[in-house]
């Protein structure tokens, strides 16, 4: 554990949870507490990033993450530009680097990037002057999602250390799993990852988590049950035989949730597939914090944007 509290981030970019240590994670979460209060005011806007420009570069369709970042940027008074390309430049044959450099010619301070390729944010961080925030790169990481999940857990449980967190679903293709596993284990929680054997990556233990194919075992004694989205395209064919069998084996229903602690919370990064990975009565039930996650996402992203806007120590 780091003895002294962090007062700044050492990194210019947020590409991975690997970029930040426990003290820096705590700083982001503490800053997000203040940012959440801003969202409760009658005028939900502060001038902290007035005159700064943030580009939201989304190469994958994403509604909630893009809107969450946009709102966070606006609440901090940044100027924002969005580019959502289900392929606008890509279709024209422009490379990611060329697209980024074109946008950089307009002198943004930060670029928030969502891309289907793992490592895309790393690539941009090597060629761009701006701070790069990874808003999801392929099946690699989604660091702000993990931060908002941690914020939500801490808000409900008062702590992260010592908690037992079950993460259930398509582990192989989930960037949410990777970021959460890194963050939660860093902060002293224990993570059990659960999914069908076809969707467990080789070497998952290297992430510091234990894995199981038994949903009952994963839920047993859990403080948090975090369900992952299962993409429809994985549902038929070589990964999984059918939706029906998936829900039977890995779906979260009220009966299974009883194995978790009585005060356990249920999380989902969205968008949910009701009746596929989670039963509606659980998703809408008293233990669900799924909508809190959405609300907290704005505050946590404000914190990340604010903290990365400073001059980083690594440049000194």
């Amino acid at each position: 554990m780091t003895a002294t509290a962090a007062t700044a981030l050492r990194t210019r970019h947020l590409l991975s949870i690997d970029d930040i240590n426990e003290a820096e994670i705590a700083l982001v979460l503490d800053t997000a507490v203040a940012m959440k209060e801003v969202g409760a005011r009658s005028i939900k806007k502060v001038p902290a990033l007035r005159g700064r420009t943030v580009v939201n570069l989304f190469f994958e369709p994403s509604t909630r993450t893009r809107l969450s970042f946009e709102l966070a940027e606006k609440r901090l008074s940044a100027d924002t530009m969005g580019m959502t390309t289900a392929g606008s430049s890509v279709v024209k044959g422009e490379t990611l680097i060329d697209t980024a450099k074109t946008l950089e010619a307009m002198s943004p301070d930060m670029i928030v990037v969502r891309h289907a390729s793992s490592g895309a944010a790393h690539l941009l961080s090597r060629v761009c002057r701006s701070s790069i925030i990874n808003a999801g790169d392929g099946t690699h990481e989604h660091p702000t999602q993990a931060l908002l999940d941690a914020f939500t857990i801490r808000e409900r449980k008062g702590r992260l250390a010592g908690l037992r967190v079950a993460i259930v679903g398509d582990l192989l293709h989930s960037r949410v799993l990777r970021s959460n596993a890194l963050l939660l284990t860093k902060m002293g929680a224990s993570v059990v990852a659960c999914g069908p054997a076809t969707l467990i990556p080789l070497g998952l233990d290297r992430l510091g988590v234990t894995s199981t194919t038994s949903m009952d075992e994963a839920c047993e004694g859990a403080d948090v049950v975090m369900m992952l989205r299962v993409q429809h395209e994985r549902m038929h064919g070589l990964f999984l035989p059918s939706v029906r069998e998936y829900f039977t084996l890995f779906g979260l229903n009220a009966e299974r949730l009883k194995r978790a602690k009585t005060d356990a919370i249920v999380m989902h990064p969205g968008p949910m597939n009701r009746g596929v990975e989670i039963a509606s009565d659980v998703a809408d039930g008293s233990q669900s914090v799924i909508l809190d996650q959405v609300a907290n996402g704005v505050a946590v992203r404000m914190a990340v944007l604010y903290l990365l806007a400073g001059e980083s120590k690594e440049n000194e």
Partner: protein
Amino acid sequence: MKVLLKNGRVIDPAAGRDGQFDVLIEHGRIAKIGKSLAADGARVVEVPAGFIVAPGLIDMHVHLREPGQEHKETIETGSRSAVTGGFTAVACMPNTLPVNDQAGITQFILKRAAEVNLARVYPIGAVSIGSNGEQLTEIGDLRAAGCVAITDDGKPVNTALLMRRALEYASMFKMPVIEHCEDPSLKADGCAHEGPVAAMLGLKGIPAVAESIMAERDISLAEMTGGHVHIAHMSVRQSLRAVRDGKSRGVNVTCEVAPHHFTLTDEAIKGYDTNTKMNPPLREEADRAALIEGLRDGSIDVIATDHAPHHADEKALEFDRAPFGIVGLETAIPLCVAKLIQPGIIGWPRLIELLSAAPARILNVPGGTIVEGGPADITIIAPDAPVTIRAAELVSKSKNTPFDGWTLTGAAAATIVGGRTVFVNRSVTGADRFEERA
């Protein structure tokens, strides 16, 4: 023109020679080898102490990219890169545009190579037309035109049946079938070794068995047909096991490994540098260690670079979208010194066997030994010369190497092809005496 190389350490494993000898070169051939040979009108070059006089190195797995992808490499730039790396000969893969699947293309390659007149170039023909895995090429015609082996490299020979026929047919011409071992369904759109590192990085994996399953298939087919299968760029311990098993049963199987596979592991892909992306991918430490052991104990026959040039623009992409491959001709010697010689895994005679004698034998081409009457293809190696690899300074048209900035030792001091000095390394002290003077 006569040249007498005096007092060099001549290492010629094929001839069982390792010691101080003089080598007299005349009319492009080795005229004499012995102690204290008389100059007899020859230009005398005193070989600097510590330098090795080796039979010319042969890289049996090179992509010269011409015809069709001259923005990556040409026969000229690739040949220059070869002699700079100490290779007097290269065998070039047929996955050009168009594919080298007919004599006309083979002849074009040989014509260009003759015009360039640096390294010897041995074309390798395709197994199937267009390397499409359906119809056999005219292998006899390819052989007649100058091909030394066949392969569908870049992908595996499509079906077991086609492999069977290729092995049977090529055996008529004593040609090996070189196989890029990979089960396409297991490889799918993978781009990194399937294991913890790829899992952490969120990269789709290529499992080790994608290679070994195909190696096992091909070794079984070689056993059945009596044909010669040569496993290209072998990267995993499971394949090595299959090769060892095959050899112990007397199967006509040989194999090669690339320097990057015994130098790096998948740890190197952290950071998503596309210059660490190649196929087969960088594997895990247990595989790297197994390859080193295979080089030591003799189960691996050849070191070949799988020199795969790509333009910088093609590599400046997302990791999963960038092409596979790195350049290798100019980094082979120092990597072999660093990973095999310096740690005492093997000695120089064994290394020269791997880089010269064995590929000559497998491809059934001249060279690979320094014998009287044989071609004067000689690589002068400065084993202790300090080198710093600089991607920007590579002679190859492409600069896609993961070894940029590495400081190593060992370099080609001079490269002699057919008695002609085609390369002198100006950054190696003492190499200038190999310079031909008018």
